[in-house]
């Protein structure tokens, strides 16, 4: 059931956002005049090569950064700083090492001023939701990467945000764990219908999870294309349509790879094989078969 985006209320409005960074004497433009609407309840993925400004865009919505030009509106109001209505999940989970799982999940509730029994009840519920009850008294260093990320998800959900901003949350995990978390996140999203903006460099991840995929290009960071994924949830990750979509996007990004190669290497470096999209698509079934 593809969503009719225009019918849904707009959650986030990005209007002509530009963000520059200066390192030493050189200035570079991370994102340049980006216009984008995020609709209420949608799962939006931002994909692109490194340096395309996808994380910058997320940080702008989060309020960690301010645009040099343009504006970011959240529910019609200008974003002035970070807040629990636009909760961010980080690649490195960001759990506090001195708190156990339950105490970590309670953090946002403590900030809100909930009493201890209230916090505890709510935390237990969310710890259960991510299947970590057995580990609610464990400290982060005692958990695996996937468990940490699940605990971080529970901590985020506990404050009941209407929107989640996820900054490559699964990219540090092994493929198997990632598959499990994809399934879990899909379930969570279907159950809660939160608005999710998901930054990833993995096209596969994007086609598995997202309703709409924003493909970004680099130098300077800008939107190249927005694709609607015409597949319903829950998705079968082995669906040939997903694999098809994946290689379409990879083809779209092919010249971006060449740009990246030029930026990060010598000028005379060319990619010999110009068909990375179609070449890797043959391996997808093997990759995904691993985790299922």
């Amino acid at each position: 059931m593809p969503h009719r985006n225009d019918a849904r209320p707009v959650k986030v409005q990005i209007r002509g956002a530009t963000k520059n960074y200066t390192t030493g004497n050189t200035q570079f433009t991370a994102v340049q005049s980006v216009d984008l609407n995020v609709y209420d309840g949608e799962f939006l993925a931002l994909v692109g090569p490194s340096g395309c400004g996808k994380s910058t865009l997320l940080n702008l919505i989060a309020g960690f950064e301010k645009p040099d030009a343009g504006e970011i509106l959240f529910e019609g109001k200008q974003v002035t700083g970070p807040g629990p209505d636009r909760l961010v999940l980080f690649q490195e989970h960001g759990l506090f090492p001195w708190l156990n799982v339950r105490q970590n999940v309670e953090f946002g509730l403590r900030v809100r001023g909930l009493t201890k029994p209230e916090r505890r009840e709510s935390a237990d519920q969310y710890v259960k939701m991510v299947h970590l009850q057995k580990f609610s008294k464990s400290y982060p260093f005692q958990l695996s990467g996937g468990m940490k990320q699940r605990a971080a998800i529970a901590r985020a959900l506990a404050v009941e945000p209407t929107m989640l901003l996820m900054d490559e949350p699964f990219s540090a995990l092994d493929p198997r764990t990632r598959d499990i978390l994809h399934l879990e996140l899909q379930e969570l999203w279907m159950a809660t219908k939160k608005t999710i903006v998901f930054v990833t460099h993995s096209v596969e991840e994007a086609v598995r999870l997202a309703d709409r995929i924003v493909i970004l290009g680099s130098q300077p960071g800008r939107i190249r294309k927005i694709l609607t994924v015409p597949l319903t949830h829950p998705r079968n990750f082995l669906d040939p349509a997903l694999i098809e979509l994946r290689s379409t996007i990879l083809k779209e990004l092919e010249d971006e790879l060449d740009k990246l190669v030029k930026k990060e290497g010598d000028d005379d470096w060319h990619l010999e094989e110009k068909s990375i999209g179609s070449r890797t698509s043959g391996n997808v079934a093997v990759d995904m078969g691993d985790g299922i």
């Binding site: 629990p84 909760l87 961010v88 506090f96 090492p97 001195w98 953090f107 900030v111 400290y139 982060p140």
Partner: protein
């Protein structure tokens, strides 16, 4: 064997052990040690209060960073006993002068440990606090302070050893009831076995406090913080 013509011979190990036993049984070692520990505890407590406050000011204000930071580093590089002449001028040759050098000896490392601990808080934790909407004070107490603990604990241990050294140096100069003074007095009174026994007493006390109090605290922090 080691000394010049007017030196006295080394006391035998047995006489040192005997003197140590005597000191333990008549309670004189305990009362001297208790007095010294109380004194250093007082001075160290004062250093903790001032050092943490200064560290917070340096961390949180531009003024602190530009002026106080280098000042504290400068003071820290001066051996604390070098404050003794100043302390005597200011307070007179009394216990206050000793407390002052204990304070000057340890306040720098506590202050620097506080500042370093706070500045080394990963950006990630600041952002987590921000995204959950934590206020300035909530962030300070629930994120910055615990996150700074491992660095702070090492600094605390270092501050303690500076405080203890300063105290002993101070007690050598101004005689009071205490192990440092007992060391110098036994030399004055030609009680050489007692002098050596006192040195052992100081070593044992240092090791015990260092390992049991500060070592355990550091270990606890490190184990709980997961490294």
């Amino acid at each position: 064997m080691f000394g010049g013509e007017d030196s006295v011979g080394f006391p035998s190990p047995w006489s040192v052990i005997e003197s140590f036993r005597e000191g333990l049984f008549d309670g004189s070692f305990f009362s001297a040690l208790a007095a010294s520990l109380l004194r250093v505890g007082y001075g160290f407590g004062l250093a903790l209060l001032i050092g943490v406050t200064l560290g917070l000011i340096i961390f949180s204000s531009r003024f602190g960073q530009w002026l106080l930071g280098p000042l504290v580093l400068g003071v820290q590089s001066l051996p604390s006993i070098c404050w003794m002449p100043f302390a005597i001028l200011w307070f007179g040759l009394n216990e206050k002068a000793i407390l002052f050098i204990v304070l000057m000896g340890s306040v720098g490392s506590i202050c620097i440990a506080t500042r370093d601990g706070l500045t080394q808080v990963p950006n990630m934790y600041r952002r987590v606090a921000g995204t959950f909407g934590a206020s300035k004070w909530q962030s300070l107490w629930w994120v910055f302070v615990p996150s700074a603990m491992p660095v702070f604990a090492s600094g605390l241990k270092q501050g303690w050893s500076f405080a203890w050294r300063s105290l002993l140096a101070g007690e050598l100069i101004k005689h009071v009831v205490g192990v440092g003074s007992q060391l110098d007095e036994s030399r004055n009174n030609f009680e050489y076995p007692k002098m050596f026994a006192t040195m052992f007493l100081i070593v044992i006390a240092s090791v015990i406090v260092d390992k049991l109090v500060f070592g355990q605290f550091e270990k606890y922090v490190r184990s709980k913080w997961g490294n």
